[in-house]
Subunit: 599 residues, 2 copies
Amino acid sequence: MPRRYLNLTPLSEALAIMRREFPSPGRAESVPLREAVGRVTAEPLYAGYSVPIADIAKFDGYAVKSGETRGAQDQRPLPLAGYARVNTGEVIPPSFDAVVMIEDTWDEGGIPRIRKSAAFGQHVRRAGEDVRAGELVLPKGHRIRPFDIGALATYGIGQVRVRSVRVGIVPTGSDLVPLGTAPGPGQTIETNTLMAEAYLTGIGATCRRYGIVPDEPDLIREAVGTAVAENDLVILSAGSSAGTRDFSRDVVEELGEIVFHGIAVRPGKPVLLANIGGRPVLGMPGYPVAAQTILREVAGDLLSWWGLSPLPCGELDVRLARRLASDLGFDEFVPVSIGRVDGTCWATPHPRGGGIQMAVVRANGYLHIPAAREGIEAGEEVRVRLTVPPASISRTLVCVGRRDPVLGELGNRLAETGYQFHCCNASTVGAVLALRANTCHAATVALPDIASAWSDQVLRYLPDVDLFRVPVARTEVGVASADPPDAGSLASLRVANRPKSAAAQFLLDSWLDREGIDASPSGVPADVRVCSALEAREAGLRFTPIGHESCDLVVREEAAADEGVAALIGAVRSPEFRAYLRAIGRDPGDEDASGVFSA
Amino acid sequence: MPRRYLNLTPLSEALAIMRREFPSPGRAESVPLREAVGRVTAEPLYAGYSVPIADIAKFDGYAVKSGETRGAQDQRPLPLAGYARVNTGEVIPPSFDAVVMIEDTWDEGGIPRIRKSAAFGQHVRRAGEDVRAGELVLPKGHRIRPFDIGALATYGIGQVRVRSVRVGIVPTGSDLVPLGTAPGPGQTIETNTLMAEAYLTGIGATCRRYGIVPDEPDLIREAVGTAVAENDLVILSAGSSAGTRDFSRDVVEELGEIVFHGIAVRPGKPVLLANIGGRPVLGMPGYPVAAQTILREVAGDLLSWWGLSPLPCGELDVRLARRLASDLGFDEFVPVSIGRVDGTCWATPHPRGGGIQMAVVRANGYLHIPAAREGIEAGEEVRVRLTVPPASISRTLVCVGRRDPVLGELGNRLAETGYQFHCCNASTVGAVLALRANTCHAATVALPDIASAWSDQVLRYLPDVDLFRVPVARTEVGVASADPPDAGSLASLRVANRPKSAAAQFLLDSWLDREGIDASPSGVPADVRVCSALEAREAGLRFTPIGHESCDLVVREEAAADEGVAALIGAVRSPEFRAYLRAIGRDPGDEDASGVFSA
C-alpha cells in the first residue's frame, strides 16, 4: 500500500524521514592517490613506517657523539674524535647522536675542529618526528584535501579506499532536447541533469547521466528500473511540462512506495521521494532554481548522511539590505549579492522565482530563511552561505537599481581591474532608499529627462547626503505600432504593455496628457506598445517618440574616492565605454549633468 | 648579468616583484561545458536568445485575452470567448495575454466558464524574464560554479573559452624514488610534485609532471629547458639533499636570471624564482610543509594574478589558544585546529616544522602571522583560513595534551558519530592550562600512577573547576637495553633518551633514587633507554619496569553533558575501545579512578 503525503512535509521532517528510510549503502572503492582529492576515506589510514624512518641530519655537517664533544670552548677548540660527514636529510649512522653544522667547524690537518660542544640530539630530525609507524594518518570519513595527498604519499599510501555513491540521473520529458541541439517551438534544452552531475560530482558522487526519456510510461518504467538497478540513488529530472511529472509519479508509485511528495521549501516544493526496492528515487522539480535547491538541500543532505562531504563553502554574518517576507512553515532560499559597504557587509536579495537562473548566476551567496521565521527585517544580522571565495567579497561592488543591459559592459570593464560588479534590480525609489541606508556602493536610477526629476525623485529623499551623479546612458522612449502610420487619429489608444520603469510611465502619461489622448488600461488587442527607439527599430515598428529617459549612476560623495567606486565611475566615463554605447546605437549619458549635488 | 637577492626578500615584496616580472601569458582554451566547473572565463559570455524565448504559461489552464474576461464575477460567471488550452511551460499563442488556471474554471456545454476576470499578464512567464538575448551572463574572469553550468546550458552555451595556464612540475634529486617504490636507505619517495599537481589543478591550472631528474647538471639543464618551452610556469621540486638545490640554482642561473632567492616566510624560506626566457621558474623547497606554503602563497598568488581563481575557502574569526612567537619581518603560517568551546571558537596551534606534514593533516585551518607582528598573544582575536567546510567546526572536538597513539582509535570511533577528533600535542602543564582557559573540549594528561599525581599536577591548577576524569590507558614504563642481563651491577647508568613525558621522567628519577643509581645525562654510548614494556618487547630488548604511567582524559564537569564531549567519554569507556586496547597489548585505564573531582 503506497504511503502518500498529500500535504507538504516540512523540510526538516522530510530530511529526517529520508535519513530513516535510507541508511548508507556503505559502498567503497579503491582509487589511486592522484584521483583521491575530494573523496572521503572509507576506512582509517595508518602510516606504514615512521617518517623520518631513522634519525637524519637537519644540516650539512658532521654526525658526532655528543658525549665526545664536551669541553670544547672558544679558548680550547677540540678536534672531532669519531665523526661521519652528513648532508641535510641524510641518515645519521646509529652510533652518533648529534650533528655539528659544517660552518661551525674548520679543518686542521684533515681533522674538523669545533669551538663548542654539541648537545644531545642537536640538529637531528628524530625518527618518527613527523609520524610513527602504525600511527593514524586519517580517520574514516575524512574528505581528502590537496595537501593531504603529499602526506599520504610520504607515508607510502598509494591507493586509498574511498566511499563511493553511484547516482543515476534520468531526464524525462518529451519536450526535452539535448544541449547542442537548437530547440524548436515548445522544446526545452535538457540542462538540469548536467547541473546535477556537476554539483553531485563535486560532492564526491559518481554520476551517470542517462538519455532523455520521452513521456511514455513504458519507457519511463524501463529507464527507472535500469537506473535503480545500477545506482545507489536515482534522480528523475522532469521537464517542465505537466504531463511528465504525472507520468513519473505514476511509474514510481507502481514500482515502489512514495516516501513524500511535496515539501515546504521555496523554491523546490514539488519534489518527490520514492523507495524502489530499498533505493531512493528523487523526483527533482523542473524549474532550474528549484532543482538546485533540491540538489543542495535534499540530495546533498542524503549524500552527507551517507558519508560524502560537501565542498568547503564560506559563511559570513551580514546584514540584510531590505526586508524579505516569507511564509511561516516554509524554508526559503534566496540568492543574494553581498558587498562590504563602509565596513559593513550587506546582502541584497535577488528575485526568488524558480525559473530565474540568472539570479543565482548573479549572486555570490544565498540566504536560508528558516521555516519558523515569517521573513527577515531590513538591517537584521543573518548568516549567508557564499558561492565565491570569501576574499572576493571585499572586491565586490554592489549596485542597486535599474539594470540597464549596458551595465553588463561595465561589469566586464570592472573585471579587468579585479572588481566584481553586482547589479541588483530595484525601482528608482528602491535604489534611492538603498543609497540612503548605505547598503550598496552605487545606485542606478532611471529618470525622465526633465529638469525637476533629479530633485524630485532623488535629492529630496537624501536630504543630508552629498551625492555624486554620473549619467550612464540616455534612451529615447516612444510608442511603437505595427500598423501603417495613421497620425492624427489618436483620440484613444490601447497600450499593450506597462512601461518598464516609472520614468517611462511618466513620459507616457505626460505625452498622453499633452496630446489629449485617452488611453485604455493595458490590454490586448493593443494599438501601441511603449519601448525604446532602438527596440522599435529592431522590431521594424513605427515609432512615435515621447521623450528621453536617463540612466544615471549615483554614489555617496564620501564614497567616490573609494578604490572600487572610483574604478566604477572611471569606467562609466571612459572613452571606451562611451564608444561602446555609440557602437550599439545607444546615447552616452550627458557629461554636463555629472557632479556633486545635495538637497 | 644575473640579479641576485642574497638577503631574504619580504613576502609582500617578493610577490610584487613576481607580478611585475611576469604578466599573464593570457592563454585561453575552449572546453565543453561539462568540463568547465572550476575554470575561469577568458571572455564574457552572452545569452544567445531570451529565456523564456516567448511568453509561457506558469500553470495548466487556458490562455485568454484579459480584456475579454472583464466583468466576470461570482454572481455573474462568464463563458470564455476566445481561449487556447495550455499546460505549464507551454508557449502562449501571440494573441493572448493572460492565463486562467484550470482549477479556477468549470465546463458547461464544452465551454470553460470563469467567476473572476483575468489581469493582464496573469500567470504568464514573460519572454526574457530570466535573461534577454544578448544580455551578459558571465563577465570575463568568473570562476564557473556547478550551478552556473545549468544556466549556461539553458542559454545555449555549450563550449566555453576559459583561461588556461600550463604548469610543468619537475622533480630533481638523486635521492628521489617514485611513489609505489619501496624507498631504500637514503632514498625518499617523491611526493611534492604529486601534491603540487593536486593543489594547482584545484586552482584551475593544467599540470604536467615530468620524470625524476637525478642530480646531474646536464640532465637538470635539459629538463628545465624542455619544461620552460612547454609551459607557462615551471616548478622545480628539489629533493631534500643539499646537492640538488645547488645544482638547480646553478642551472637556472645559467639559463636565465635569478629574480629572488630566499624569502622571509616560514616555513618556505629557501624558495627561488628565476626568469628563463620570460617565463617564471620556481624552485620549491624540499620540506613538504615549506613546499605547501610556497605553492599556496607564491605559486597560488601568481596564478591568481594571471586570472585563475583559488577554490572558495572559508575564513573565521577565532581566538588564539596560546601565545605564538614569531620573528619580526617574517610572514609565518601556522597550522591550527579550531573548535567551538562554550560558544567561542579557539584555534590551537600545531608544531611549525617544515617537515611535519602530519601537523597540516591534523589541522583544520591555518593562521597567517604577518611580518609586522612579533607573535600573537593568547586570547587575541585572529582570522584563520579553513581547510574544511565551516560547518564542520561545530562538529570538531579539540583535545590538548599527550597524544597517545591510542587516541587515533578514539578519533575513528568519534568519526562514526559525525565528530572530528583533533589532538594537539602539549605537556601535562600545557593541557591543564588549556583546560583552565577553557580553550579545548578535553585534555589528556600523562601522570605517573601514584596517588598524589592527580592532585599535584592537575587539581591544584584548577581550584575553581569541577573536573571529570576518565582514565584512557595505562602504560608500563621501564628501562630497556640490548645487552645481556647484568642485573645488580647498576651502580651507574647512561640513559640514551629523554623520557617522552614528565611522568616518565618522574618515574625514572624515583627509580634511580630508590635503587641508588647515578645516571649520566643523556648520551651515547648508552646503557639503557626509557620506553614502554610494549616498545621493549617489540624491539626485543631486556626490560626493567620502573612504574606505570596513566593517560587520562579530563574535561570540565559542566561540559561533560555536551553531545560531542559525551560521545568522546562514551567512546573511551566503550567495551569496544577497551577490547581494542587489550588487543594491541595495552592496558585499559582504571575505571575506578574515573569520576568528578574538585580541588
